[in-house]
């Protein structure tokens, strides 16, 4: 019996290496695929950069109280950009692959489903970091923004958090919206939500009714956490923003789980 138990079809070490290789390749090709798809990569990086140049760089050296507007907008457009990367990369991308039948081919293979999801999530983080790096370079070079190394590291950390939060929203959207309408529907959610959260124009300049709506939106809480790195956040406590984002992520993942299971039962 003891000899029999020693004989295993695949040793644990090589099985782990095998899994790591799958996760690695899945992520590498997901990233390459999106980077090469110029309609995706140019717009997902180009829009936040363009908006930041128009609204942020154009306001260089403008001070509102103790707030440097160009630096404030660096934080808010960083959020705008990384949210777009997550919602379009995962929401629109997954919806397209599901409708085209590509997801089914993958599911018929021994690919671990988690490798597919994680690859998309890591890719969203990577695009988020690329966008934030571009914006930061622009802000420092042309917007007169001064940023400490500590602030930069915290920004990149918050980028990862944000990408994961909105990846969960992308996951839910991918399952409930048809692929041919996906880009339009995502824009209809993403653009108003960004505006109402003060990611385009600082929230203190927006009407009072908008300021009352904002705390109901996850984009607002991410924006406040990002601005908090520069000491620009509003009065609400940092903990409340974290709680809101965590709750939102749970809600999205839970709803995705329910929708997924229901579709499996009907399939």
């Amino acid at each position: 019996m003891s000899t029999a138990s020693l004989v295993r079809p695949i040793a644990p070490a090589s099985s782990l290496a095998h899994s790591l290789r799958i996760y690695g390749k899945e992520t590498k090709y997901e990233f390459l695929k999106l980077l090469r798809a110029k309609s995706f990569s140019l717009s997902i990086i180009g829009f936040p950069v363009m908006f930041y140049v128009i609204f942020g760089i154009a306001n260089r050296h403008v001070q509102e109280g103790s707030v440097d507007i160009a630096k404030y907008m660096l934080g808010s457009y960083a959020c705008f950009g990384l949210i777009g990367a997550a919602l379009f990369g995962i929401g629109v991308g997954l919806a397209g692959e599901r409708t085209a039948g590509w997801l089914e081919v993958k599911r018929a293979s021994p690919m671990p489903p988690m490798a597919y999801l994680l690859a998309k999530c890591v890719t969203a983080v990577a695009f988020g970091i690329i966008i934030v790096s571009f914006l930061t370079a622009l802000g420092v070079a042309f917007g007169g923004v001064s940023l400490s190394a500590r602030e930069l590291v915290r920004m990149l950390g918050m980028t990862m958090v944000g990408a994961v939060v909105f990846a969960s929203m992308g996951l839910l959207l991918a399952q409930i919206i048809p692929a041919n309408a996906a880009a339009g529907v995502v824009n209809l959610i993403y653009l108003p939500m960004s505006f109402l959260s003060g990611l385009w124009i600082p929230i203190r300049f927006l009407p009072h009714w908008v300021q009352r709506i904002a705390p109901m939106l996850p984009t607002y809480h991410l924006g406040q956490l990002m601005l908090n790195i520069f000491g620009y956040a509003d009065a609400a406590s940092v903990a409340s923003h974290w709680t809101s984002l965590a709750g939102f992520t749970m809600l999205m993942l839970g709803a995705s789980w329910i929708v997924f299971n229901r579709s499996q039962q009907n399939a």
Partner: protein
């Protein structure tokens, strides 16, 4: 001499069938019903695939062919009945390591190169086929470095075929594999599928190209409205569907010919008589006995298409 010349031809077809009948089935559907709301896609369907066999699932659109394949791949669950592959549930990920699938796909990621797609799929399997072998079998030489978006329809199908081969699977399921291929590419694909079966692989393909089922399959399962209508070798299916046509010059009376066993119709076509019969040999033997002057004898099998139409429209 002709017998010797025919021998290899016969062996390649007969051997897998003879061997197959004695072996455990590779995959089975046992009394499987699949309903989507009010529509019944499969209605108490049973089938078994034996090692080394090429089986064609033939049927009109909406007959349930793709549903059967997706059940065997574990992509969907049966409403009732059992799908089993290699003795286990096809939804079990461990089973998938031994299966290759080519499904109907509208679009696959276009900004990856052919060899990148293959590299990724090879990584899913513990013992993949070498890149060189996949490229050779799927006839992808010279296009490995192209982006998927740069390929023709036939080349795209060959990439999907290549992806199905990545794990060196024992069971390969091909859902309409030659859609979009020209006739030359299609024949090339058929040759590769035959080679796989010769290596002991089991192949299930669905097709609406009757010629494809005829040329390729050891066994054809004709399904319509989720039920098996007919099952057998291509020649058995043809016979069952419409019978063969006997054409000759003869002085025999048409009314007499109608009375011969298994005759379904007799027509006069200028100076020839055309007799359609299920058991052509018996009828011809009788006709030759009765008319020593019978001449210009021809016996034609109906096209599989005629048999197929007869089988699926009568139910």
């Amino acid at each position: 001499m002709p017998a010797i010349a025919l021998a290899p031809e016969i062996r390649t077809i007969a051997a897998p069938i003879a061997a197959a009948q004695t072996l455990q089935p590779v995959a089975t559907l046992a009394n499987v019903t699949k309903r989507y709301g009010a529509t019944t896609a499969l209605d108490g369907l049973s089938l078994a695939l034996r090692p080394g066999e090429i089986v064609a699932l033939l049927g009109p659109n909406g007959a349930g062919k793709s549903t059967a394949v997706r059940l065997l791949l574990g992509l969907i669950s049966a409403t009732s009945g059992v799908a089993s592959v290699f003795g286990s549930d096809p939804r079990d990920p461990a089973t998938r390591v031994r299966i290759g699938a080519m499904l109907q796909v509208a679009r696959i990621p276009e900004t990856l190169r052919v060899h990148e797609h293959l590299d990724l799929f090879r990584s899913y399997y513990p013992r993949p086929l070498s890149m060189k072998e996949i490229v050779r079998i799927a006839q992808l030489d010279g296009i490995e470095s192209r982006f998927y978006s740069q390929l023709s329809g036939g080349q795209k199908q060959r990439v999907l075929f290549g992806l199905a081969l990545c794990g060196d699977p024992d069971l390969i399921m091909l859902d309409e594999p030659s859609v979009g291929m020209d006739i030359e590419a299609r024949r090339g694909l058929w040759q590769q599928i035959r080679t796989l079966a010769d290596r002991g692989k089991t192949v299930l393909l669905t097709t609406h190209y009757l010629e494809e089922a005829d040329a390729l399959a050891h066994r054809i399962i004709v399904i319509n409205k989720g039920k098996i209508v007919s099952e057998g070798t291509p020649s058995e299916i043809k016979r069952r569907g419409a019978g063969r046509k006997i054409s000759c010059r003869t002085d025999l009376d048409i009314e007499y010919l109608r009375t011969l066993p298994s005759v379904t119709s007799v027509e006069r076509n200028r100076d020839a008589v055309v007799v359609t019969a299920g058991e052509a040999e018996r009828v011809v033997r009788e006709m030759l006995l009765q008319d020593a002057a019978l001449s210009n004898l021809e016996i034609a099998s109906p096209a599989l298409e005629d048999a197929f139409l007869a089988l699926t429209s009568s139910r």
